[in-house]
Amino acid sequence: MSFDEIYNIALMQGFAGLSLFSVLLLMGLGLAIIFGQMGVINMAHGEFMTIGAYTIFMFSSLTETYAPGLVQAYFPIAIVAAFFIAFAFGWLTEWALIRHLYKRPLDTLLATWGLSLGMQQVFRSTFGPKEVSPTLPEWLMGSWAPSEGLDIPINGLFVLGLTAVVTGGVLLALYKSRWGLRVRATVANRAMANATGINTKRTDRLTFAIGCGIAGVAGAAFTTIGSTGPTSGSLYIVDAFLVVTFGGAASLLGTVASAFGIAQTQSIAEFFLTGSMAKVLTLLLIVTILMIRPQGLFASKIRR
């Protein structure tokens, strides 16, 4: 093997890590907003991702049946729809379930886990237990070869771009918009935020729904790199929690850094070892680092 080949393989493997990073980041972002803002551990977060993935599948089959000419164009619209459908279900979940449990954090864990099992069964009954894949438009297929022997898949590039846009949008909204100010004030001190005139209940509901909407986008991104089954989301939930805890619960920048670290470690180790040994190595590293820095990678430096 020449040096060039090793270099190319390292680049491609690194890029595979970037695709995993994208999905993990989108999952972790939604989870971090919900967990950081409301202290709610949303075990059903993976299922909101699955909702997004099935939304893409539905759009794909509907387009194929009724408007085959539009197959090239449906995908961007379906991503927006994935966000809003997951957003709507998130809104409903907060209203029906979560808001009654804010003072009982362990019960939210149990309740959302139950919700996750229920949703999985609904997916199974509606779409069947078999994994499905949407028909992706042609412009997402194939790969980009900047040089001989180096193939970067286009769907991976697309997912990366989508993630960058969503992450940038969330950070911008959180630090520049009125909603972001409400969220950050509520995170800092709920009772006091209410006493400065902020409707904290409405802020909670909107925040939960936005977190779920982002999970929907993660699901949409997921369809380009894997096939969707009723339990697809639950495969990612543990990793997503790892990302949030490792990054530092209140820090979105930490979420980005930790998603990157975890995905790259996993992906590069996978190339040299087996898949499960790579997982073991990743987990060992995380556990060790968390023992030294229990607050996570990034924690803001202020007097409390």
Partner: protein, 229 residues
């Protein structure tokens, strides 16, 4: 302006306020004096709606607010500066003030706020948590003031603050009342501060108001007796 009628507040089974009634007029500062554990903070928390009333009524400018959540009370004209300041430590000074602009038409900090507290202008890009105690107190007052209140509640504004800043805060409160003609209700243990700002003084003891006097009539020795441990 603020009308409190027979307010009872309980923590579970144990009642902490046993029927508090008082009125505070527009352009008037009222001080509520009392030792620790006599119910000052409980009273203030129930006025802003952090603690629910067991019974009784609170009216602001004729509007009943007893059943409202805190943010609705703020919209109706109460603003609250809590004990221990409770500014948002992770937000910048400017963002802290912005949180009070929820009901404002223009989401911009009015110039008069920075004129009143120049130090906040200098510190506006810093995180609130990195300010000193006195600066945080000024920030908490600024955050409450931008809600354009009719009634301003301050719970022990001098607690843990160095004496020179206490004087500044007294001056600021008198300035605010002159500028805006609002009602100020302040709870205090420091009698000299209360005498600097208040037109009327109440003494709270064991969850009841036990003494009332105007500033001119106040017998400081008598009130000191209530405050001594």
């Amino acid at each position: 302006m603020l009308n409190v009628k027979d307010v009872h507040v309980a923590y579970g089974q144990s009642e902490a306020l046993h029927g508090i009634s008082f009125e505070a007029n527009a352009n008037e500062t009222v001080a509520i004096m009392g030792r620790n554990g006599m119910g000052k903070t409980t009273l203030f928390k129930s006025l802003i709606g952090i603690l629910p009333l067991k019974s009784g009524q609170i009216e602001v400018a004729g509007n009943e607010v007893s059943k409202d959540e805190s943010y609705k009370r703020v919209a109706k004209g109460i603003a609250y500066v809590p004990q221990g300041r409770m500014i948002f430590p992770t937000l910048t000074v400017e963002e802290n003030i912005h949180t009070g602009l929820e009901n404002a038409k223009v989401k911009k900090v009015p110039d008069e706020i920075y004129a009143l507290f120049p130090v906040l202008w200098e510190m506006r890009r810093r995180k609130g948590g990195n300010l000193s105690g006195g600066q945080q107190q000024q920030l908490a007052i600024a955050r409450a003031l931008v809600t354009d209140p009719k009634v301003l509640l301050l719970d022990e504004p001098t607690e843990g603050i160095q004496p020179s800043i206490i004087k500044d805060i007294a001056r600021a409160l008198n300035e605010i009342r002159k500028l805006r003609q609002i009602t100020i209700v302040v709870s205090e243990q420091v009698l000299s501060f209360a005498m600097d700002v208040a037109d009327r003084l109440f003494v709270i003891e064991g969850g009841r108001l036990v003494h009332e006097s105007t500033r001119a009539e106040t017998d400081t020795a008598h009130i000191k007796q209530f405050l001594s441990v």
